[in-house]
Assembly symmetry: C2
């Protein structure tokens, strides 16, 4: 009733609030832990290093190793789905594909604890991706009313019964994650809507917006509380992560060229990053990680040691450049003790790269060394069994080469100034010195643009990345430049490969639907689209199994029959124009093309009139047959048939067909595999009679709670093999009418596949029925029909209630 709707809306908003609070607190927890671990590590190392370099080094390495080991141990033993960034999987979930284990309670815990360890240990990774995943987990757990495994669920909160409601919540969670990670509420909203969701609704935006605002308030409050010293090492820094708003605002036209160069470099390095990580991850999945958890643990620990050695040793290799002038108001001490350089993946390092004050701190040579080292480390670290985000490494890489380009520009400028000068000695006039020092101040601008370009080249985001960059640096004046650099780097990157998340999702077998349909779809019809199953997925065994099955279950109308040697059940019927080709059949390939041609013909399967067909031929035929076959259920179906059909294929949706009174068939809806499994398991709806239980005048007695049909998120769900049915059960029937979706979306058979694709993606569908052209049109709905005024609507309902509806 109305009360329920009110409760439902109330819970929706309450959940948005809770997601915001939960994600905000998780972010604060991770931040506090990471900063404190890092702080203790540096204090310890620094105090020991005064006495012995070697001892300090060993302590540093061991400390990191301990953190990494705890992280990788938790992840591998307890929550394997928590490894990596999690964004590809979440993207897949919101696109309609549920990866096993990705949104469980244990994954949430593993993600939080694991990312504390992995980020705190100074590996070349960040905490942003994991925070998005954390937000999504919190949202999903709330949506299903807690974790059923750990008896933490509550009936009161189990109001979200549809997939759509849950996906909306997870979208809120993603936005909350980004908002918490970057303290960028608007960036979070845009990230969720641009990057992770595949379909967009204004109502959803409104709730996502609310969640992000809540996160911002929570994080801000917690930071305010920490400022008073309650959080140990955590507490310094403002709400804006890398505030460079006090930088310059102007740039000349001649600087647009080096900026374009940064964009191109970003696109190239980003595309290279995607490609390298793709290769390494695929190698890892296929060889390394098949050898068990022990290998995964050893791998990460080795990597941690290498990272520690590099981060400790790299600063020792170069001679420390003397600090040019002591800046009292700068919080950077230069030269810092070598150990302090260690944690490269630290907000401080980025702050230094972005800072205008650290002009002399980085020489070109050390920046280049750092770039190569860190790039390699980031590539290798990606895909290990620890929670890892790519945002902060990306910013590090990008700002490093951005600064390099900036240095190059400055030196070019200096050089041209010197050449223009009257003499080499007199050239360093005061004016040019001032000008150069002005240019030096611009270097942080190049670092910022570099960071944006690398992220754009790797992740291929546009508006959301732009807003995030602005929100983390608080420099709005650079916005047009960031936009241009992003445009260039994304365009360059797109020329080589897809975005990081898309590549990773594809590698993991998550079928993401891109926003744009493929070009070849323009020339295909919906009917042709139906058959695009991958041939490799069907083996000869499958084909054999189908042979037994099709005796009973395939639906044929009068014009159609299929002939298999060995099961001459079906009479030879009239197949019209198709017969003329039958005798020319020689090979499986010909059968394939003939079947195809026949299918194009009249939607019917060809009569294959060859007795001497081999199993190979048959398999080919069956493959094709399987490609186009639609497995339908009658309205009242025998349990044994249900079981064999469910065992015989892996389809998730089946059309249900009924016979109307005048003998015509009628598609009455779509039934999902998961719903069938629930029905088989509960057995309460089995009946002895093969007739539909029409209870005229009243509804079916509802024996099922609707929530039983909702598959718990991220579990495998029940399988047909888990259900045990007695032989008596198998002889019974079930009426599917009360359980099906009565009006799935339909498309006519000759609709362009591009149109079908758009329909599919825009509405977030999972199944579309391809049906023959309709024989007549009952009505035409136009824009005006959908503009129902409230009073008119009630009149229409009144009319409706006086009418007698007969079936």
């Amino acid at each position: 009733g109305k009360l329920y709707v009110g409760y439902y809306i109330g819970v929706k908003w309450l959940f948005s609030l809770l997601i915001g609070i939960g994600t905000g607190l998780a972010a604060v927890l991770i931040n506090i832990s990471v900063e404190n671990f890092a702080g203790w590590k540096y204090e310890l190392t620094f105090s020991i290093i005064q006495k012995s370099y070697l001892a300090g080094f060993i302590v540093y390495v061991l400390f990191n190793l301990l953190l990494v080991f705890s992280s990788v141990y938790i992840v591998t033993r307890f929550a394997p789905a928590a490894a990596g960034s999690g964004i590809p999987e979440i993207k897949g979930y919101l696109n309609g594909v549920d990866t096993h284990g990705i949104l469980l309670f244990r994954t949430l815990i593993g993600k939080i604890l694991g990312s504390i360890g992995s980020v705190g240990s100074g590996l070349a990774l960040g905490k942003e991706g994991p925070l998005v995943h954390t937000g999504a987990c919190i949202a999903s757990l709330l949506g299903q009313g807690g974790s059923t495994n750990y008896h933490l669920s509550s009936r009161w909160f189990q109001v979200f019964k549809s997939d759509r409601d849950r996906r909306d919540l997870v979208t809120c969670g993603c936005a909350a994650g980004v908002a918490a990670a970057f303290r960028a509420p608007v960036g979070g909203v845009l990230f969720a809507l641009e990057e992770v969701t595949s379909w967009w609704r204004s109502q959803l935006m409104w709730r996502v917006f609310f969640t992000s605002a809540v996160v911002a308030v929570v994080v801000r409050t917690a930071m305010g509380w920490c400022k008073s010293g309650n959080c140990g090492h955590f507490g310094s820094g403002g709400f804006i992560i890398w505030d460079i708003s006090d930088g310059q605002e102007d740039y000349s036209f001649s600087e647009l060229l080096p900026m374009a160069v940064i964009g191109v470099i970003g696109g190239l390095l980003g595309a290279l990053f995607n490609q390298l990580t793709l290769f390494i991850t695929s190698w890892r999945r296929n060889y390394l990680h098949k050898k068990g958890n022990r290998v995964k643990i050893i791998e990460v620990c080795l990597l941690s040691m290498i990272t520690s050695v590099i981060s400790f040793g790299l600063p020792l290799l170069r001679s420390c450049s003397p600090c040019p002038e002591p800046e009292p108001n700068s919080d950077i001490d230069c030269p810092r003790p070598p150990g302090m350089y260690g944690n490269y993946v630290n907000d401080d390092a980025i702050r230094n790269l972005f800072s205008a004050k650290t002009v002399h701190e980085f020489s070109a040579q050390s920046l280049l060394t750092f770039l190569v080292m860190f790039y390699t480390l980031a590539v290798v670290t990606f895909g290990t069994a620890v929670p890892a985000g790519q945002f902060v490494p990306g910013i590090m890489i990008g700002s490093t080469y951005g600064r390099l380009v900036g240095m190059f520009v400055v030196s070019m400028y200096k050089k041209s100034n010197i050449e223009e000068g009257t003499s080499k000695v007199a050239s360093m006039t005061i004016v040019s010195v001032i000008h150069i020092s002005l240019l030096f101040r611009f270097m942080h601008l190049y670092a910022l643009l570099g960071a944006a370009s690398f992220l754009g080249g790797s992740m291929r985001m546009t508006v959301s990345l732009c807003v995030i960059m602005v929100e983390i640096t608080n420099n709005l004046k650079l916005l047009p430049l960031i936009m241009l650099v992003l445009l260039i780097s994304k365009a360059v990157g797109d020329a080589f490969n897809e975005g990081l998340y898309e590549e990773q999702a594809r590698l993991r077998g998550i079928p993401l639907l891109e926003s744009r349909p493929k070009n070849q779809m323009r020339k295909m019809t919906a009917k042709e689209g139906c058959g695009n199953r991958k041939l490799e997925t069907i083996t000869a065994r499958d084909a054999e199994r189908h042979m037994h099955l099709n005796e009973a279950h395939f639906y044929f109308d009068n014009h159609t029959c299929i002939f298999f040697p060995g099961c001459l059940r079906y009479p030879v019927c009239n197949v019209g124009k198709a017969t003329l080709k039958v005798h020319q059949i020689a090979s499986g390939a010909l059968i394939v093309s003939l079947l195809y041609c026949c299918f194009m013909f009249e939607h019917h399967i060809l009569l294959v009139m060859v007795h001497s067909i081999t199993l190979q031929h048959l398999t080919d035929t069956l493959l094709i047959f399987n490609m186009w076959k639609v497995v339908c259920f009658p309205r009242v179906v025998k349990i044994a048939d249900v079981v064999s059909i469910l065992r015989g294929n892996k389809h998730n949706g089946f059309p249900v067909i009924d016979h109307s009174r005048n003998g015509e068939t009628l598609v009455i809806g779509l039934i999902l595999r998961s719903h069938l499994l629930v029905l088989l398991q509960s057995k309460v709806d089995f009946q002895h009679s093969p007739l539909p239980c029409e209870t005229r005048g009243g509804h079916m007695p509802i024996r099922h709670n609707f929530s039983e049909f909702v598959k718990p998120v991220s579990t495998k769900g029940i399988s047909i093999n888990d259900i045990h049915l007695s032989s008596d059960d198998l002889e019974m029937y079930i009426d599917l009418a009360p359980f099906l979706n009565p009006s799935p979306y339909i498309v006519p058979e000759d609709m362009s596949l591009t149109k079908v694709y758009n329909l599919f993606r825009q509405l977030g569908l999972r199944h579309i029925f391809v049906v023959p052209r309709p024989s007549h049109v009952i009505g035409l709905i136009t824009r005006k029909d959908l503009l129902i005024e409230d009073n008119e609507g009630s009149a229409a309902i009144e009319l409706q209630s006086t009418s007698v509806r007969a079936h």
Copy 2:
């Protein structure tokens, strides 16, 4: 070919670039003109005022009057569609409804010149809405390759033949307009995607993003050029319009309450604003503006004089508060000469309201007077015949009451401090003075929040408004607060009415589809949705006309007939279960409900067996009949029939039905009225034989250029009454098959109307066929079917080419 696709994509991006440049330049032109006119006005008034107050006043009023008159004269005589903000119409266009004249070349010129006059004259309106409209006009003109009326078109640019491409361009134009108006590129993207478009695609976002970046660069470059003094009075101020980034960043929890109050006030005042403007605009449309252009001109001129008097006189009424301390680095001279207060709708006034330096400049009383006056002026000015935006007035109103709330908070704080103090004299300790002066500094924050809340309460935007507010003030730290205030004000406003643009669009008869389907749609099926035409639109005359028509054209199958007294053409047939009710018919209302019931029955029209039916009964019947009637065309149709059907109704789309070989009917597609009109006008496809011109083996000779079928934007298009056909022509036939859309989207009759609504809106459709339930399913398309790999696709195409396709 591939070359064409490349050219097409190239032109697309070129157009995005040109739209950006064009809109940027238009914005700069408007800005320069407005600032210079205002500057001259003030110089003149100020120089005269030294001698005589009255003379100065008269000159001031006359100057304003001249500007306003030029604006309103241009608009009323030359470009009536340029009046108002234009955003509701653009929104309607992108939602699928083309308002007459809204995107013409003359509208563009009228908008630019008109807004220079109206904004320059100091009326209570802004230039933002008009700039959005300007951008859209530029985009649309580019899209159709120039203006055909003024012979400015080019064949080379006429590549955008589909409505969708043009809508995409107009979306870019809108974003460019916002980006230019507020110098807020990201805000522009979000505004276009949140507020104006009804369907969203990632590809489009990418192009909109590019356009906005171009605008930012153009505007910035122009401003840089103006800084050197080339633009007269224009040239001061940075890229950020009201830069308050140097303000405070912290706020205490106790301040959240007054901020919530600001949100509530904003929601209330915004909703009131919408309601008042709705009443006044509707009154104007129904009474005032029907009296001709002269009245419109007089109205605006009167309004200008009132505004001038108020803006000149208001500062005289109150005693000027003395300037507390001279601030050398402030660019505000206080007290300023009274005449200088005049142009309230000036960026300077807002800058002062936002500024922390102008603490003592505004007393509470003067702010309140100003608020009331300005609110009234803004309400009254809205809807006059000049180009007018509501953004700047909204910011003015909002920041005024925001500042008032801020003052109230400060005084409360002062009071409580005084009470807490030991004695009244000693209470003003140094500490509290410092604290209060700190609070004073926060006042501009309240002004900003007030502005956000009023805009949120009136326009009901979320993310885009948030980003725009941040981009125009350059204060990111306030983002969470702005978000919260917007949430509150939008929620409060939504409780009363719809957003400003939605209300205005509805008033103008633009049927906007909201993002959310109505609740009652959940219970309705697609079939019920078909008939929701408005009853008022059909008169008895229409019904009579239909009576003559239906003799020839209504399509009936064997089970259906309708009986009208006077035209006993159709035999009495079997109508099954429906007959039992026929004899009980007494009144028109009963016929209505019976027809409804009958329609629910078996999709067929009831046999109405009443001879004594009156005209009134008949009209009612026909109304209902008309509501559900689907006017179909056969594939080959007589020209006379086409003409009479097109004259007989106003439908824009008609199903085309063909008979297949075995006698069954088959829906072969949808033909649009506009295409039929083009065919009738050109006459080249007329044929003498009533048989379809099947040209087997080859295609139809294409006699039409595709671009002929594209209706020019914003024109009325040709009407059936404009086409003159001889009696010979009327006897000929036309084969519609080559011209129809072969696969429009279809929905089964019993699909929930909510689902239909989502389909409609998400895909931006204009027609959907409601068809009977299909008899069988040809195939099922799932996610995996749509993941076509490139190599597989080419294989499938190969297979297809070997097949023989026969009809």
